[in-house]
C-alpha cells in the first residue's frame, strides 16, 4: 500500500516489463514529452513511466501491480482534455489507453456500439453511418478525443441541448477497480440493479476506476439538418433571440453564440462567411423530417428577424452546413492564431444571464488588459471565454489565471457552475470550494474513498482532499519539469 517513500523506479519497471512488451513502455524522459500534459499545456509533469497496454488483461495486470506497489496511476485517452485531468503524476504510471482502439460490435437493430476506450468519438459515427445511425455527443475535439475520455469527463458538444451529454448516451461501461478487478456497470437494457454507478463514473475524471469498454446508444441520422445563421448588433439582442427560440417550443439540435472577437478569429481562419461587422453571431441547427425542418427554419428565421438580426443565412446543403459549423468548431485554434497562448474557461450559467456575464467579462478584460473571445453553447448556457495571453510572460500567466478564476466565481454567483463539460482536473481544484461547502466536499472525498481508499487513481485532481491530505495542494502552481 501507499507510503511516503516512493517506490524505486527500477522495481516498478521490472514488474511492468513482466506485463508489457518493451515497445509498450516509455521509461525515457525525452520520449515521454508528448504525454506531459493534456490540452491545457500550462500544467506539465513527467511520470515515472508511460505504459501503453494493448489488451484489457494487461491493463488489469498494470493496475494490480501498481496497487501492490502503492504507485499512483493516471489514465489517459487521447490527451485532448482541457483541465489538466490527464497530467501525469511524477511518482506514478501514466496509463495510456490509445492502443485499445477497436470498435468491437455495432448492433444496428438495438442501435448500440460496443467500443474499446481508445476509439475516437468521430470514428463511432463514421462506423455507424453505414446503418443510418450516429453517436450524439460531439465535442469540438471529436476527431481526436476518445470515448473513454468522453466518459471520464462527461463530454458534451454543440448538440447536447437536444441529444444530451455522454451520460445520456451510454448503455454500459466495463470498469476496472483500483485493484484491477473487473465489473460491468449498466446493462443491455435501460435499468440496472442497485445504485447507478455508471452515472457516478461518468464525469468522475479517472478518480474512481479505469474504463476498459463502453457501450453507447446510437441515434438514427436525421433526414434533414439545416443551419440558420444570424448576425446581431448586440450580444443582448442575440441572447434575447435565443430565449425566444426556446419560448417558441423549439428544441434546436444545436444553438451556438459567438462574440465579435470570436467571429473575426474564426472568419480569418476558415472563411466560413460569417458577418465580420456583427457583435454576436447565432448558429441554430434544426433537424428532423423534411417537413419539420422546413417548419422550424421558417419559425427561427422570423424570431431572429423580429429580434433585429442584421444578417441571415440558411444552409442550402450539407456542405454549407458543415462550413458554417467549421467556423464554430475551429474557434479554439482560430483564437490560437491571434495569440501565442489562450486559456479556455468553461462556466455554465443560466441562459438569461448571458448578456450580464459577457458585459462583466468585457470589464474584466479591460481590468487585466487581456483580450478575451467568447464562444457560447447558448442553448444550454455553457460559456467558453478564451483568454489570450503570452505564455512567455510569467506576469501575463498570473493575470490570465486570475481573470479565469474571476469568470468562474462570476458563473457561480449568477447561479451557474465552474465547469460545464471540461472537468475540474488540476486546473479548477481551487475553485471547488466556491461551488461546494465543506460538508459537500467531504462527501465527495468519502465517495472517492469508497472506490479508492489509498487515493492512487489520478491523485490530486477532481476533488480537493481535505481530510486525508496526502496529495492536495491548496493552489496548483505552474508545473514544469527540469
Amino acid at each position: 500500500m501507499s507510503s511516503n517513500t516512493p517506490i524505486p523506479r527500477d522495481t516498478l519497471l521490472a514488474r511492468l516489463r513482466e506485463i508489457l512488451p518493451d515497445d509498450c513502455l516509455i521509461p525515457e524522459q525525452e520520449s515521454q514529452r508528448p504525454f506531459e500534459c493534456d490540452g491545457l499545456s500550462l500544467y506539465r509533469e513527467l511520470p515515472l513511466v508511460v505504459a501503453l497496454p494493448e489488451t484489457v488483461a494487461q491493463v488489469q495486470s498494470i493496475l494490480s501491480c501498481c496497487h501492490d506497489l502503492g504507485v499512483p496511476v493516471v489514465a489517459r485517452g487521447s490527451g485532448t482534455g482541457l483541465c489538466a485531468g490527464a497530467m501525469p503524476h511524477p511518482e506514478g504510471v501514466l496509463l495510456g489507453l490509445s492502443k485499445l482502439n477497436s470498435i468491437l460490435e455495432i448492433d444496428p437493430l438495438a442501435r448500440t456500439a460496443r467500443l474499446q476506450p481508445g476509439v475516437t468519438n468521430l470514428a463511432i459515427s463514421q462506423a455507424a453511418a453505414a446503418y443510418g445511425l450516429y453517436y450524439g455527443p460531439d465535442p469540438s475535439s471529436q476527431i481526436a478525443c476518445s470515448i473513454g475520455g468522453n466518459v471520464a469527463e462527461n463530454s458534451g458538444g454543440v448538440h447536447c441541448l437536444k441529444y444530451g451529454l455522454t451520460v445520456h448516451n451510454l448503455l454500459s461501461v466495463e470498469l476496472l477497480t483500483v485493484e484491477g478487478q473487473r465489473t460491468t456497470l449498466g446493462g443491455s437494457g435501460l435499468d440496472s440493479p442497485g445504485y447507478d454507478l455508471m452515472a457516478l463514473i461518468t464525469g468522475s475524471e479517472g478518480l474512481l476506476g479505469v474504463v476498459t469498454e463502453v457501450t453507447v446508444k446510437l441515434l438514427p441520422c436525421p433526414e434533414v439538418a439545416q443551419v440558420v445563421m444570424a448576425g446581431f448588433d448586440s450580444v443582448r439582442a442575440a441572447g434575447d433571440a435565443v430565449g425566444a427560440v426556446i419560448a417558441a417550443g423549439i428544441v434546436p439540435a444545436g444553438l451556438e453564440m459567438m462574440d465579435a472577437l470570436a467571429i473575426q478569429a474564426a472568419e480569418d481562419f476558415v472563411q466560413a462567411g460569417y458577418p465580420r461587422d456583427a457583435q454576436a453571431l447565432l448558429l441554430c441547427e434544426l433537424d428532423g423530417t423534411a417537413a419539420e425542418v422546413d417548419q422550424h427554419v421558417d419559425a427561427v428565421q422570423q424570431i431572429f428577424r423580429s429580434h433585429g438580426a442584421s444578417s441571415l443565412r440558411i444552409s442550402s446543403d450539407d456542405a454549407e452546413r458543415e462550413l458554417l459549423w467549421k467556423g464554430r468548431k475551429s474557434a479554439f485554434p482560430a483564437v490560437g492564431r491571434m495569440s501565442a497562448d489562450y486559456y479556455c474557461m468553461d462556466g455554465t450559467i443560466p441562459r438569461s444571464q448571458v448578456s450580464h456575464v459577457l458585459e462583466e467579462i468585457s470589464r474584466l478584460s479591460e481590468k487585466y488588459q487581456l483580450r478575451c473571445a467568447n464562444v457560447f453553447h447558448a442553448g444550454d448556457g455553457n460559456l467558453h471565454p478564451l483568454i489570450m495571453f503570452d505564455g512567455g510572460d510569467p506576469q501575463q500567466i498570473k493575470l490570465a489565471e486570475r481573470f479565469g478564476a474571476d469568470i468562474l466565481q462570476l458563473s457561480v454567483a449568477v447561479g451557474g457552475c465552474i465547469t460545464g463539460e471540461h472537468g475540474v482536473g488540476l486546473e479548477k481544484l481551487s475553485q471547488m470550494p466556491s461551488q461546494f461547502s465543506e460538508a459537500e466536499l467531504h462527501q465527495f472525498e468519502d465517495i472517492k474513498h469508497a472506490f479508492d481508499p489509498a487515493l492512487m487513481l489520478n491523485p490530486g485532481k477532481g476533488i480537493p482532499i481535505l481530510k486525508r491530505c496526502q496529495e492536495y495542494r491548496a493552489l496548483p502552481g505552474r508545473h514544469s519539469h527540469d
Partner: protein, 344 residues
C-alpha cells in the same frame, strides 16, 4: 409552504445518535412495490415538504421540493406549455417528485426522452449524518464533482433524504398522435425496433394484449406525415396515461408482477402473459423467465415475497463498491435499511 428541511435533518441526526433506522416516504404510492419491505420501525414522512421553489420556463428548468405531487408539478408546467420529459406515473395523484427520483420511475417515453435520471440537474440531500448537502445545480451542464444527483435515481432513499430536485423540462410537442394495430408480440417487437431505427418522431412503442401501439409526437408536419406512412388505427392518446400509471387492465391481474429490463431485440415468446414497453426494452411479466440473459435485469416489481431480494444480483466486485458507497453516505445504516437489498 414551510421549509421542513431543518426538522428533517434534525430527525436524521437524532436517528443516527440513537441508532434508530428510518423508513422514508412521501405519498406512499410505491410502498408495496419496487423495493423490498423496509426493516425500519420508525418512519419519516417527507410529503409535507412540498411546493415549487423556482420555475424559469425560458431556462427549461424547474425546482421543487421532494414532497410535491407529480400531478401538481405537471399542471404548473402545462400552463407554460412545458412538460416533464420522462412521463412519470401519477398513481392517483399520490406520487411525489422525491419518490419518483428515488425509484427512477419513468413512463413509455423512456427510450426517446430518457428517465428522471436523465432529466435531473441537481438535488438537495440530507445524508445519513444529517448534513444538508447540495449537488449539481440549475444549469444544463455541470461536471464539477461527482454526479451525486443522478446517483439518487433508483437508490430508493438509501443514500439520503432527497429534499429538493432541479429538473430539465421540455416544451410540449405541437402534435401527438397514437396509432394502434393488431400484431403478435414477436411481430410487434420486430416493428418496434425497425421503426425506432428511423428518423421519425416516435416517442413510445408498446405491445399489450395483441395490439401494437405507437406514439408520434413533435412538429405537426412530421407527426402527420409519419402517421400516413406507418398507418394504423388512430386512437385516444389517453392510452399512454393508463400504461404510465399502470391503470390499464393488464396490471389489474393478481400479483406478482415482474419487470425485465433487456435489449429491445431480445426475442420474446408469443405465449406469455406480458406487456412490452419502451420499444421492447421493458417487459412486464406475470411469471419470471427461466433464464435471464447477461446484461438484462429482472426485478420483482410488486407482489411476491418482498422480504427476499427483489432486485437482480450484483457480482462480488460491484456488491462491495455499492456497499462502501452506501456507507460513505449513511455510515450508521439508518436510511431505509433493507429497502434496496437485504444487505444494504
Amino acid at each position: 409552504m414551510t421549509d421542513l428541511v431543518p426538522q428533517l435533518a434534525a430527525r436524521v441526526s437524532a436517528a443516527m445518535a440513537d441508532n434508530t433506522p428510518l423508513y422514508i416516504h412521501g405519498g406512499n404510492s410505491k410502498r408495496d412495490a419496487i423495493g423490498r419491505d423496509c426493516t425500519a420501525e420508525h418512519s419519516l414522512d417527507v410529503s409535507g415538504h412540498r411546493g415549487i421553489s423556482d420555475y424559469q420556463p425560458e431556462e427549461l428548468v424547474v425546482s421543487a421540493r421532494a414532497g410535491t405531487p407529480i400531478r401538481e408539478l405537471e399542471a404548473v408546467l402545462a400552463q407554460q406549455g412545458q412538460m416533464l420529459p420522462f412521463e412519470p406515473p401519477h398513481y392517483d395523484g399520490r406520487a411525489t417528485l422525491g419518490g419518483t427520483l428515488a425509484s427512477n420511475l419513468s413512463g413509455p417515453a423512456r427510450p426517446w426522452l430518457g428517465s428522471i435520471r436523465d432529466s435531473v440537474l441537481g438535488v438537495q440531500l440530507i445524508n445519513g449524518r444529517g448534513q444538508i448537502l447540495a449537488f449539481g445545480g440549475k444549469v444544463m451542464k455541470n461536471v464539477a464533482g461527482y454526479d451525486v444527483s443522478r446517483l439518487q435515481a433508483g437508490a430508493l432513499g438509501t443514500l439520503g433524504i432527497i429534499s429538493e430536485v432541479h429538473l430539465k423540462v421540455l416544451p410540449q410537442p405541437e402534435a401527438t398522435l397514437t396509432l394502434a394495430r393488431e400484431a403478435t408480440a414477436q411481430d410487434a417487437l420486430k416493428l418496434m425496433t425497425q421503426y425506432a431505427g428511423q428518423p421519425k418522431p416516435l416517442t413510445a412503442a408498446s405491445w399489450i394484449e395483441g395490439r401494437l401501439y405507437l406514439r408520434l409526437a413533435g412538429a405537426a408536419s412530421a407527426v402527420n406525415h409519419t402517421a400516413r406512412i406507418w398507418g394504423g388505427e388512430n386512437i385516444d392518446n389517453a392510452f399512454w396515461n393508463q400504461l404510465r400509471d399502470m391503470s390499464h387492465e393488464f396490471f389489474a391481474k393478481p400479483a406478482p408482477l415482474w419487470r425485465l429490463s433487456i435489449t429491445p431485440t431480445a426475442p420474446c415468446s408469443d405465449n406469455l402473459d406480458q406487456c412490452i414497453d419502451w420499444g421492447g426494452a421493458q417487459r412486464w411479466l406475470r411469471t419470471p423467465p427461466t433464464q435471464v440473459p447477461p446484461g438484462a435485469h429482472l426485478s420483482l416489481f410488486s407482489g411476491g415475497d418482498r422480504q427476499a431480494e427483489v432486485k437482480g444480483d450484483l457480482d462480488a466486485v460491484q456488491k462491495q463498491l455499492q456497499l462502501r458507497l452506501k456507507q460513505s453516505f449513511d455510515p450508521a445504516g439508518i436510511l431505509n435499511p433493507g429497502r434496496l437489498y437485504s444487505w444494504m
